[in-house]
Symmetry: C2
Subunit: 137 residues, 2 copies
């Protein structure tokens, strides 16, 4: 049975299931940051997916990228599948702003963490969820 | 007319055109590292591509990921589209080995560079090219 790796959910909260992937919000207010986890048992690499599942995942990545790009002041969307620390296949979709805490470097491995203001977090999740659920993948 | 951003070709050499993307080899022997550049003028984000082009790109990413994963001792394949420094859409496909120069962090932004031995580079390119051209995307 499929389960999210607890190392992902320790710092990111699942909030929506798309048709293939569960979407998590990274608990770090420095960047609007989603993580997609395709619910395919033991998938670790993009190449572990069937052609059909990879195509579905691509649609969901693009949907999340559009949702993140619509956040205020986001200039670039970084998309990455690394898995060096947590092997379970997961795809990061991160909104980047010139001058953010890692700019122009990658966000992975950057020290520290900034907690969300609860009201800001709720508003962000409401906006993202609306964008993810008013489109079809 | 489409042209590779010179900031990409300054440190990576185009060696093969797939149906959508030109494939470049990053000139750094620390990692087997390909960069795919879809030949779509002014595309910057994955979401700038049509559905059809995105599907073609996905096929080419998976093809490159398999070619990199077949290199000796590669344990993970990191795939990333960032574009914080060079906005032209380009996708990194990087073979990672436990204990490599950035492990387990990302390779982007890591200082330094190690030149390839010319014979090693030629052999790597021959292997990669064979893998990329004996499959269809």
């Amino acid at each position: 049975m499929f389960a999210n790796d607890p190392r992902l959910t320790r710092s990111a909260a699942p909030f929506l299931d798309l048709s293939l992937s569960t979407v998590l919000l990274k608990e770090d207010a420095r960047w609007p940051w989603l993580i997609l986890v395709p619910r395919i048992e033991s998938a670790q690499e993009l190449t572990d997916l069937s052609d059909a599942d990879a195509a579905r995942l691509l649609g969901e990545i693009r949907l999340c990228a559009r949702a993140i790009a619509a956040e205020p002041r986001v200039e670039r969307t970084n998309i990455g599948a690394l898995g060096n620390v947590v092997p379970q296949l997961h795809i990061h979709v991160i909104g980047r702003r010139a001058g953010d805490a890692a700019w122009p470097g990658p966000v992975w491995g950057v020290e520290g963490k900034v907690a969300y203001d609860p009201a800001d977090r709720a508003a962000l999740l409401a906006r993202i969820t609306a964008r993810l659920t008013t489109h079809t993948t």
